[in-house]
Symmetry: none
Subunit: 194 residues, 4 copies
DNA sequence: AATGAATGAGGATTCATTCAT
DNA sequence: CATGAATGAATCCTCATTCAT
């Protein structure tokens, strides 16, 4: 966590749970405060407004999320191993924190466009990690050398994101992480018989 | 159109414009009524409630959207041609109706999860079309025979969806349709050198 | 009343009573709505916001207030009779509407400076009436010809206003109108023995 | 100053500036504390509550204000000289402390009626000084012997007060003190040709 | 004496929906 | 069918005040 203030973290953790359980619009500030064990007004000592809670949740959690993936990737040598690690850890991390998955895949998207811009900014470093893997793969001659990096990044992120969202909307009834190899193969080899 | 009542369509068209221009949360029923040239109360003669307007917008527009894609696909023989047609027409149709693209890619997602369930129901036939293409491709031995249809569908839809969303968030500043071949190649052949 | 909408007037009348009885800051919109026999939301069909109620109360009441004084003055020939009429009617009108007197003398002054500017605008015509009397008096050679009109106006208004405010703060325990002749004499002849 | 504690005075001075610059309603206790260079809580070691700060500001400043006027008056023999001195010094003192003038003429009046009662109490000695002058003038046969002291006091105070308020609302754009003779003449001789 | 983090009560306003005409 | 005036529930945020340190 960026800030070591305990109340700040209490509120962040409470917000994830309350938003996951009630949905963003039914998550009154007082409900979050209550769950965090602080007074309503205390929220505003740590956050500018209700939206800021949401952005901060995303920043904090996304920060850890990316950090861990980057660590995992750094242990790998080849771009396709790195891609596999990214897919697998993306799925694993959301798989292991159901509340967080609900918030990122469903509730966070209910935000207005101002908020969405901020969320995109937080997401940038993650997208940069994807770009980096793709570039490395092209340089290593593991990936084709004519790839449009932006489109590849959108395919990789769009695919994983859609898969996680579907899983969440099915209430996480099946094993998400187990699908990492298949997804990786799909992205690597595409649909066509060679 | 489900109903041939002219006011029904007036309201649907007004809703697309108002939501695209103002965003979901700033699109009051009275604003839509005003744009449609009817009284507020009249809305409720044609729609159960505000959510119902949104679902209906999506139903109507998605109905046409899918219909046209199915027509396009039926003219093709091979699964990979069909897939190309689907990608190209998906991009083209949203490219040509900016208002609709904003509504489907951004504003509609701000709805609560109850509404999102209904939207998914509307989306089902489209996803079924994708599934059908994949199955045909496998039978024709054009696509690999070990594909997990659900995951493939999520990759195809997730990729296109992410690409369109990014395009909209960049205010449609570049040519979307032109990217269809590259996207199709990516989905078909994946990232890896063969 | 400027507007013949009955609810508009109901709300104005309710506001005078509620504000006079509770003070401006303890006069919640819901309390005014309740007194007026309308829903809270209805207030906002007729007034922009809470401040607008206050300004409108003043506009409506001040409009009548001035109108009557002007009528009274027009029946008089000489400036000093007109001045007497102004003093007497000013006192009489506030004397006869205790609620209104509380609102104008006490509660209205708790407004912020933005509101006060608007109130001053409403007051302008009344001050103009005073100016007119003074000018006439000077032309008629009834008043001294070296008067500084602005200062005279401020003396006349300041004197009456202070007297009414003191009366209100003593809960209207004595007869205000009866003092008109003395006040008029004071303003006319000053303090000094001639 | 009632208390010789330096922080007490720091807070009083800070309050005058903060209230004059921000207006009464935007003058949070924390803003005053900040300006005074003390912690929020420290305010409550010297003042019972926020209202008490205001009353104390008025008491302290009014105390000095009256003291100086009394000194000035004591140097004069005749009641009409004393009245002139009172008018002139009233204008001069507020003229020379713009912040204080804003607070006394505008911001302090936004207080609720409970506070206003206390303010009136503080004002009493000043009104007594006016009364004294009037009585002396009557005894000296300089002023008419049939004056209603209360009304005369209200005329004198109301006139000066209204003139200062108008001056403040015009941002002190003209010379206030220069008007003392005219005001004094008006109060002494009234409007009428003799 | 001094601090300042924490408290929590309180209220204007919006807008989807109704229903008398 | 159509209207649109009226309804009223629902909530974020501020800020004076407290009290453990």
């Amino acid at each position: 966590m960026k800030k070591s203030k305990p109340k700040y973290n209490q509120i962040i953790e409470a917000a994830v749970i309350v938003i996951a359980e009630n949905g963003y619009h039914a998550s009154q500030v007082s409900k979050i405060a209550n769950k965090a064990g602080v007074a309503d007004g205390t929220i505003y000592l740590y956050f500018k407004n209700k939206e800021d809670i949401l952005v901060s949740v995303f920043e904090e959690k996304m920060g850890q999320f990316i950090e861990r993936i980057v660590e995992g990737i750094n242990e790998k040598q080849k771009a396709n191993e790195k891609l596999f690690t990214l897919v697998e850890m993306h799925l694993r991390q959301l798989s292991e924190d159901h509340h967080l998955a609900i918030v990122t895949q469903l509730e966070l998207r209910q935000s207005n466009s101002a908020l969405r811009q901020q969320i995109n900014k937080v997401l940038k470093p993650y997208l940069a990690v994807i770009d980096e893997i793709v570039k490395e793969g092209m340089e290593e001659n593991i990936f084709r050398d004519d790839l449009n990096i932006r489109l590849v990044r959108q395919m990789i992120f769009g695919t994983i994101d859609e898969i996680v969202t579907n899983w969440i909307m099915k209430d996480g009834k099946y094993d998400l992480v187990k699908q990492a190899p298949t997804i990786h193969t799909l992205l690597s080899n595409g649909l066509t018989v060679k």
